[in-house]
């Protein structure tokens, strides 16, 4: 415990790094999965190509991807970009199937009536289909958020893993407390992210309160089983 107080500055700094390095992939992955998911929900070929492609990328263990990306991107191995890009790829791969399902889950009758009312396809998407798909998108995003926060710590092996630094450093010093504190702060950060997402969801989708609770990240264990 004294170690915690003596090193609070370091730990909070690492937590801030962790929030930034996992927050960017979560947001970029979410933003990218919307057009990709919309596209894939309209074309069988696109769906097959996108799901297979991201499925293969997702199968690649993260440490392997962290190491290969600098070669492909032409970045330095210690560059944070590698980690951010890798986690963004994983985030899209995790989101994509759920996003396709979410857009597909909006009733065809509703979409037809919107068209009959004179909505253009763009405004129909943003004002009808997207909001109605919102609860499912949010449930997926919460799973991605929790997984990305925990996955980032692996990047400590290539020097930019946020709180993962406490794991490599704690191992080198054979210091158990440091590792436990790293785990606790990682889980706390995941909880904070999750809480923020729930609150944002309630503000943006006030009609959906009971459903948001029911489709919490804890209640969708089936897909995207990510750890580490």
């Amino acid at each position: 415990m004294t170690w915690l107080w003596n090193n609070l500055g370091l730990i909070l700094g690492l937590t801030a790094d962790h929030a930034r390095l996992s927050g960017i992939p979560i947001l970029v992955g979410f933003a990218a999965s919307i057009p990709l998911g919309w596209f894939a929900s309209r074309s069988r070929v696109a769906r097959a190509i996108l799901l297979t492609g991201f499925g293969i990328l997702y199968t690649i263990p993260s440490l392997a991807l962290f190491v290969v990306l600098p070669v492909i991107l032409g970045t330095k191995i210690l560059d944070e970009t590698n980690v951010v890009v890798a986690l963004t790829i994983y985030a899209i791969a995790m989101m994509l199937r759920g996003t396709i399902d979410a857009f597909g889950s909006v009733s065809g009758d509703v979409l037809e009536s919107a068209r009959a009312q004179g909505f253009s396809s763009v405004s129909r998407f943003w004002t009808v289909q997207f909001p109605l798909a919102g609860p499912v998108l949010l449930a997926n995003l919460r799973v991605v958020s929790v997984s990305t926060v925990s996955l980032l710590s692996v990047a400590a092996l290539i020097g930019s893993g946020g709180l993962g630094y406490l794991f490599t450093n704690g191992y080198q010093q054979y210091f158990l407390d440091e590792i436990v504190i790293g785990i606790v702060f990682t889980v706390l950060l995941a909880l904070v992210f999750d809480t923020v997402l729930v609150i944002v969801g309630r503000i943006l989708m006030p009609w959906n309160r009971p459903k948001v609770v029911r489709t919490s990240a804890l209640r969708t264990p089936q897909r995207d089983w990510v750890g580490a």
Binding site: G55, Y58, T59, I60, P61, S62, L63, A64, L65, V67, V68, V71, I72, L73, G74, I77, Y90, A93, R97, G98, D101, G104, S105, V106, S107, A139, V143, V146, S147, S150, L151, S153, V154, A156, L157, G161, G164, L166, F167, Y171, Y174, L176, I179, G182, I183, T186, V187, A190, R214, A217, L218, R219, P221, Q222, R223, D224, W225, V226, G227, A228
Partner: protein, 276 residues
Amino acid sequence: MSPLDGIENFLRSLVASFLNALEFFLKAFAFIFDPTNWAGDAGIGARLLAHLGITVLSILIAIVLAVPLGLLIGHTGRGRSAVIAITGAARALPTFGVLILFVLIGINFGAGLSLTPVIAVLAVLAVPPLLAGAYSGVEAVDRETVDSARAIGMTEWQILTRVELPLALPLLIGGLRSATLQVIATATIAAYVAQGGLGRYLIEGIQLRDYTRAVVGAILVAALALIVDGVLAVVQKLVAPRGVSRGATRTTSSTGMTARRPTRSPDATRTPVTEG
């Protein structure tokens, strides 16, 4: 500088980085296809076998722990929310940290730098996806089918083993796929704290700043993960009882009901896991 120069410089750097990447990959493949690198205790052959051995052993332990429990939960419907809570909470745990924690605790208890704590962590990590696959597989079996089996006089044991288990197999294998990928990936990062496994190439490459070596490890680990996942995907297709095709299970797209409950979709547990 005219805009054309800018474009030219950009294209030049693009070509340069492409050639650079190509060089690394060619060197890595030359290393992999050199038979002398396959021999010996620290060769590709030994490390590949160690990686597979660690994976198979951890998965077998996890199957013994998780599958009977998952089938029971699916059959009785009891303990479902506990499983969901556990799998959700487990997702938030940083595997890398948990791995190092176990290894250090193992050292404190005098286990030294043995593989036992590593295998223990890998087995524990494989439990949630297997549990979810087993229980959601049984749960996804049509209740009318189960009632019919009961009505023709099958015992609960017969219902579980002859009706529910065969019908649950595709989802159960889906859970096995997730678990296996997670274990392969985590066994890779385990090379940081234990000898053996293909992750050694990555760790050595990073520590020695020998980039080709790291890329060798990345290629081998990715290939292993893709091949094992491909094999399990074929198994998953083969074990589906005749008459239970993908189309016969409820699909997600049209109703909207199932989108929020993807456990019902045929390959819901399929999405592989990345790690380490």
